[in-house]
């Protein structure tokens, strides 16, 4: 068998009796690695936010706003966050995915997206803002 023999560890066999799935430790370490990447972008966002609050002219404000936007988008990408739902689009109402403005007594069948939601992997972090479709 072409194998690299380990010097340490259990010698009872090739595998333990139970296969565990992805462990919290591995997930935590992966999350930390992604956060390290995102932290620098968040620091840039804070700096840009300060520039924005100190801006005196329209030009300075729009420049600082663009810098803030750039830094936040970088941080979001490095954490693997994605936006979902196309603004102006229509889709079937799903309370898990949608934050409905002015909900009535009965949930609507179809809604119109007014603001995109945010997800990481399969997890919805911020639902899309929607209104009942006319």
């Amino acid at each position: 068998m072409a194998a690299g023999k380990r010097k340490t560890g259990d010698t009872s066999g090739k595998r333990g009796p139970k296969a565990k799935r992805t462990t919290p430790v591995l997930n935590e370490a992966l999350a930390e690695a992604a956060w390290l990447e995102a932290d620098a972008a968040l620091a840039q966002a804070l700096t840009a936010f300060e520039l924005l609050s100190q801006a005196d002219t329209g030009r300075e404000r729009s420049e600082a706003m663009a810098l803030l936007d750039q830094a936040l988008i970088r941080a979001v990408r490095r954490r693997g966050l994605t936006r979902f739902g196309a603004t102006g689009g229509r889709e079937p109402y799903d309370p898990a995915r949608h934050d409905l403005a002015e909900p009535g007594e009965r949930p609507p069948r179809t809604v119109c997206i007014v603001g995109q939601g945010v997800m990481r992997g399969c997890e919805i972090l911020a639902p899309a803002r929607v209104r009942k479709a006319p």
């Binding site: 690299g4 690695a33 988008i73």
Partner: protein, 451 residues
């Protein structure tokens, strides 16, 4: 239902700046479960660095040899005395006359004592890497009980060279490294590194009874093909991989024949322009468009700031069409459309498009000859998100009405599996080759282990 793997494969990827390693079940190809993919935590946690990346660096100090982050830190502190760490093992592994390169004495800036050859220092680094792998495996609750791993390493394709001969050199290096690691032990992982005297005697002992480590070799393009197509019911038998690395852009076409994945050698093209070239184009365009930075000192400072922030700049320019950089209280705008006007960049794009079209034509003909209906295209490496690269992989050559050309994402869908809670995908591109190398079935290996 959870499947308990019987045997595991470990793959080491020597990146230019960092080494990475990952483990996957040996039967991953036939019964894929994303949750069983285990990137290894090679570094130490809680030191504010990405724990999956191990810095490829060796520093020869006054009396000790330092490794990884400690080597980088010491080299930075000693930079004013013209001292440097040995880095870029990957570049060394790519040379055609590897034996000769290894037997060269290390430069005075790397080894002021003039005691070590490049080979010695690479062996010490590999011993450090093996010790880090040992520690990472022991800390992983799933892998800790595993006694044996099938081991392999990933390398760029050795163009026009004797792959088997070069592979033999590498497995001998690993054999020496394992012997050194057995003698020196956990000291290798200490931030103080190892004493030069101990290192020399461990090396001498290792060479008295030479051994080779039984390892397989997987080239980077098949590793990319493996993580891209694993678990897909509609995985195509033909694939074209464009790898925009730092120093070269490599285009490789692969075809599955039975259980084997083989390269189509006529489709293989390497261009000498890649990420570093694009960095220089972006920096030069920015300098030209910054009239207020005219003095030599000012331009040097701006150039350095651009290079320090180049990864961020390229991310934004490639994905959003523009980037902004704050420099000396001003905001500098860098737009993709300005870069696209650069003469050198346009020449590179023309050459890249011609090269990709040639490779695509070869893979098209091979797929049609094999009566296949689909070709998949994937872009990997630091420049893979560039719009012109993404445009290339969406390209369909003429006269291929019967064929579908499917671009595949750089991060495969399985990396978003629920088990990872969204945490693998953001770091996947950095770990991709180690993971793909661990997942690849034996038919994708350039050299299989001896068994």
């Amino acid at each position: 239902m959870t499947h308990a793997p019987e045997a595991w494969t470990l793959c080491i990827d020597f990146g230019t700046a960092f080494s990475k390693a990952a483990v996957a079940p040996c039967d991953a190809w036939s019964r894929f479960d994303p949750a069983m993919v285990r990137p290894l935590m090679l570094g130490e946690r809680d030191i504010g660095a990405n724990v999956f990346l191990l810095e490829s660096a060796v520093f020869v100090d006054e009396e000790r040899i330092l490794f990884g982050p400690a080597a980088i830190e010491r080299a930075e502190a000693m930079a004013s005395r013209k001292r440097t760490a040995l880095r870029s093992f990957k570049t060394l592994l790519s040379v055609s006359d590897l034996d000769r390169a290894l037997n060269t004495a290390a430069a005075g800036s790397i080894d002021p004592h003039r005691l070590f050859s490049m080979r010695d220092l690479v062996v010490f680094y590999l011993a450090y890497l093996l010790a880090a792998i040992e520690r990472a495996v022991a800390a992983d609750p799933i892998l800790a009980p595993v006694e044996n791993f099938e081991r392999r390493y990933a390398a760029p394709a050795w163009r026009g060279a004797d792959s088997a001969g070069l592979h033999n050199v590498v497995v001998r290096l690993f054999g020496e490294a394992e012997a050194v690691a057995e003698v020196v032990g956990e000291q290798l992982l200490s931030v103080r590194g190892i004493a030069i005297k101990s290192a020399r005697s461990a090396l001498a002992a290792a060479r008295t009874t030479p051994r080779v480590l039984d390892m397989g070799l997987v080239f980077e393009a098949p590793a990319a093909a493996a993580y891209t197509s694993i678990g897909l019911e509609d995985s195509a038998a033909h694939m074209v991989v464009i790898d925009v690395g730092a120093g070269t852009t490599d285009i490789t076409a692969l075809a599955r024949r039975g259980k084997r994945m083989e390269e189509l050698p006529e489709a293989r093209i390497t261009l000498k322009q890649a990420g570093d070239f694009i960095d220089r184009v972006i920096a030069n365009c920015t300098l030209e468009a910054t009239p207020w930075a005219r003095s030599q000192a000012h331009q040097t400072a701006l150039w350095n700031a651009l290079m320090r922030n180049m990864r961020d700049i390229k991310d934004s320019v490639f994905l959003d069409g523009r980037a902004m950089l704050r420099f000396e209280g001003r905001t500098i705008n860098i737009a993709m459309r300005d870069i696209e006007k650069d003469t050198d960049f346009r020449a590179f794009l023309r050459e890249l498009t011609r090269a990709y079209s040639r490779s695509l034509e070869v893979v098209r003909a091979a797929a049609l000859f094999a009566n296949r209906r689909e070709v998949q295209a994937i872009a990997v490496g630091g420049g893979s998100s560039a719009p012109f690269v993404q445009e290339l992989i969406r390209r369909k050559p003429p006269n291929s009405a019967k064929l579908h050309f499917t671009p595949r994402p750089a991060t495969p869908e399985w990396a978003h599996a629920r088990e990872f809670r969204g945490n693998l995908a953001p770091v996947f591109p950095q770990l991709a080759i180690a993971i793909g190398g661990a997942l690849a079935p034996e038919g994708m290996l350039a050299v299989a282990p001896a068994r």
